[in-house]
């Protein structure tokens, strides 16, 4: 059987937010496909656990505690990667965060914090790794956006805005860096059973069960996704199987057509 197209043997990947959820799943998926993976996140114990699992798959790994919101730790992440592996083939900007807040209650401080966590982190990761990829004249960058970047998400205007920015950042940079053989693509997950989203949905079931029902009815597959269902897309976009794909953000939502409506006018 020939699946060499998807083979990532001995490629060097960096995955941010790799301590849990989608990021951890992507890191393990890339390792299963043959890559050596540098894992970054704020919580040391979690990335060490991910790194150990990667090592057990027979690949090399490095766990670098990193706060992706600031230039200095991001530079440290990339220089540590270069010291160990001498190159970066794949950069996955996955780290990010979210919280629920109706727009009328949004403060400037909270808005800035969210933009730093979800958008500036993508800028810093991409520009720092990208400089090396420009020298290498080769690389694949994958930004984890969200279906919220395509579909309105009442109660999370800040998050939807930041993720839409990530999608257009991806498209614009793909054009700018196409001549240098660097592909830039995005992944837009819908509701995936990560610890954070699971807590959110459970809270909804308790406080507003009718909304929880509506939420599921908006997904064609009538179920949430699992973090390990993102693996295939990450491998595809990282590998030569997507050699003619750049600037796109691929949805992985189980066929979601809208988020919750009316979430913003309740109290929560």
């Amino acid at each position: 059987m020939g699946l060499e197209l998807f083979d990532l043997s001995d490629r060097i990947a960096v995955v941010t937010g790799a301590g849990r959820g989608i990021g951890k799943s992507i890191a393990l998926g890339l390792a299963e496909a043959g890559a050596h993976v540098v894992v970054a996140a704020r919580t040391v114990s979690q990335i060490e656990e991910t790194a150990e699992e990667i090592t057990r798959l027979g690949r090399k790994s490095l766990a670098i505690p990193t706060d992706m919101q600031y230039a200095e730790p991001v530079e440290n992440l990339i220089s540590a990667t270069m010291k160990e592996f001498k190159r970066i083939d794949i950069m996955v900007n996955n780290a990010g965060g979210n919280f629920y807040r109706p727009f009328a209650d949004m403060t400037e401080r909270a808005w800035d914090a969210l933009m730093r966590e979800d958008l500036k982190s993508v800028f810093l990761g991409t520009s720092t790794a990208g400089k090396l990829m420009l020298e290498q004249k080769q690389g694949s960058i994958i930004n984890v956006a969200s279906a919220a970047g395509f579909i309105p998400f009442p109660g999370m205007v800040h998050y939807a805005t930041a993720k839409a920015a990530v999608i257009h950042f991806t498209r614009s940079l793909a054009h700018e860096w196409a001549p240098f053989n660097i592909r830039v693509n995005g992944i837009a997950p819908g509701f995936i059973e990560t610890p954070g989203v699971t807590d959110f949905v459970n809270a909804l079931k308790d406080t507003r069960p009718e909304m929880a029902d509506e939420f599921m009815s908006n997904i064609a597959m009538k179920r949430m996704g699992r973090p390990d269902e993102i693996k295939g897309l990450a491998i595809f976009l990282a590998s030569d199987a997507s050699s003619y794909i750049t600037g796109v953000t691929v949805e992985i939502t189980g066929g979601m057509t809208k988020f919750l409506s009316g979430l913003g006018d309740g109290d929560s």
């Binding site: 059987m1 197209l5 083979d7 196409a178 199987a241 003619y244 750049t246 691929v250 066929g255």
Partner: protein
């Protein structure tokens, strides 16, 4: 190393327009990934050649001369597939045609022809295969649309409109068929160097020197794509690797955002 997520071993796939260009590349790619193939096309010698290449890869292959614009043709394709393999796991609605014709100069007949070959064919193929997949308990359908279905392609208005139709057909059908465990997705190729495109570029160059350069100049990657570069997207969408993906259209276009000027 494990790439089992993308494995198509012993799946049965139908590829329409599978005798050449993008369809042939996808059919051979599926065979490389382990699938058995049914090649449907209008009965050219190319079709048997594609089937032979599948067999050379150690998979089973059947070629069925098919006019995908006619219900009788599509029904026969499905019937022959079931006789030979007993199931359909994957359908790729790839067959299609295009003409260059500004809308105001286009005849009603030519317009209807564009919609028969590009849109009705997708409806007929999907309906016939979905009925089988519903009984089986699942399957996956991949419709080959075009970047012309997402961005304007002046001079090919009918083609462009039909391909846009395929994209929203895909989105709708995905919702209708999700309860039956059938995923429906589309691929939107940009400028791919198929035999048809080669011919068109050659003819246009006679009239407009520098045409090729201007076409390629619109692609951020600075080159046209090869049919083989559609294979990864097709395997991704056909396999368990995309288990939580339905209703989407995947662009394979080298970053292209505008077709003609």
């Amino acid at each position: 190393m494990s790439l089992s997520l993308f494995d198509l071993s012993d799946r049965v796939a139908i590829v329409t327009g599978g005798s050449r260009g993008i369809g042939r590349a996808i059919a051979l790619g599926f065979a490389d990934a382990g699938a058995h193939l049914v090649i449907a096309a209008r009965g050219t010698p190319d079709m048997e050649g594609a089937a032979a290449e599948v067999r050379a890869r150690g998979r089973r292959a059947l070629s069925v001369p098919t006019d995908v614009r006619r219900k009788a043709g599509v029904d026969n394709l499905v019937k022959r597939t079931l006789e030979e393999f007993g199931r359909i796991d994957i359908l790729v609605n790839n067959a299609g045609t295009y003409v260059w014709s500004p809308a105001v100069e286009m005849s009603e007949r030519a317009w209807d022809g564009m919609f028969s070959s590009n849109m009705k064919s997708v409806f007929l193929g999907s309906r016939a295969a979905a009925r089988v997949m519903m009984k089986q308990g699942g399957g996956t359908i991949i419709n080959i649309s075009s970047m012309a279905g997402l961005v304007p392609d002046p001079g090919r208005t009918a083609y462009s409109a039909a391909k846009a139709g395929v994209i929203n057909f895909t989105r709708n059908l995905a919702i209708e068929l999700a309860p039956h465990n059938i995923r429906v997705n589309a691929i939107a190729p940009g400028l791919i160097l198929t035999p048809g495109i080669k011919q068109e570029v050659k003819e246009t160059r006679k009239k407009r020197p520098g045409f090729r350069t201007s076409v390629v100049g619109r692609v951020p990657m600075g080159r046209v794509g090869m049919p083989e570069e559609l294979v990864g997207a097709a395997i991704y969408l056909a396999s368990a690797a995309s288990a939580y993906v339905t209703g989407t259209t995947l662009e394979v276009a080298g970053g292209l955002t505008i077709l003609a000027d």
